[in-house]
């Protein structure tokens, strides 16, 4: 049994590029990766929002209403439903004057058990140390 850990770092605001959403859909794909792997082998994906990337987490995104397109918010919630470890940089939120109440924290309506974690950058640094490979977006 072996585990490969990947760290997805989202550093830029979304919508003008689809990369932020693709980061989440790729991380969510860790749920089905076992079809390619031996029994008990796995790939685990952690996701962190840093810098301007934390703007992706502002809640009540009306992308569907305005552009008929699913929102980054809905992708974050889907990630929670899949038990992804999703981190948001505390210092960057504070820089923008944002607090926990402004951003997506849970996906209770979908029955997700885990929540988005607002953490100091130091903890994101630790995650980056821990994983096998980094993927910056």
């Amino acid at each position: 049994m072996a585990t490969t850990k990947l760290g997805f770092i989202i550093q830029r605001p979304g919508y003008k590029s689809e990369n932020q959403k693709l980061a989440l859909t790729h991380a969510i794909a860790s749920q089905s990766v076992e079809i390619y792997l031996d029994d008990d082998d796995e790939v685990i994906c952690d996701v962190a929002f840093t810098g301007d990337g934390v703007l992706n987490c502002i809640k009540d995104q009306k992308a569907l209403e305005n552009y008929d397109l699913s929102s980054t918010e809905s992708h974050i919630k889907m990630g929670l439903l899949c038990d992804l470890n999703i981190l948001v940089c505390k210092e960057d939120l504070e820089k923008f004057g944002l607090s926990k109440s402004d951003i997506v924290i849970d996906a209770e309506e979908f029955g997700a058990d885990v929540e988005v974690k607002v953490v100091p950058f130091e903890e994101i640094n630790k995650m980056m140390d821990d994983v096998n490979h980094l993927l910056f977006f």
Binding site: P13, G14, Y15, K16, D52, L55, I58, K59, D60, Q61, K62, A63, E65, N66, Y67, S71, E73, K95, F96, G97
Partner: protein, 99 residues
């Protein structure tokens, strides 16, 4: 000239806006440019708001990003729709620039 410019990024990688000298300048914040209307960094509003210009921000692009008219920090920035952009282009300015 009467120039209406469109700013679609939050991090701007050109200095053109600082150098243009139109007789009338409009700045329309669209796509990720809408954050200039709503977001302070360390308490400071975006320096993009310092031009001598008429400012507009597109409601659709605010809402898409989880923002509303109430989040606009400076009352000089008017919240508008796509139809208003069409009117600005045809009625209030003679040239456009997507920066």
């Amino acid at each position: 000239m009467k120039l209406v410019t469109f700013v679609s990024d939050y991090k701007i990688n050109v200095d053109t806006l600082d150098r243009l000298k139109p007789e009338k300048l409009g700045i329309v914040l669209v796509e990720n440019g809408v954050y200039h209307a709503t977001t302070k960094e360390n308490g400071n509003p975006s320096s993009l708001l310092n031009h001598s210009a008429d400012y507009y921000v597109l409601l659709n692009d605010l809402e898409t990003r989880g923002l509303t008219a109430d989040d606009v920090i400076d009352s000089k920035v008017k919240v508008i729709g796509f139809g208003d952009i069409v009117d600005l282009i045809f009625n209030d300015y003679d040239k456009t620039a997507w920066l």
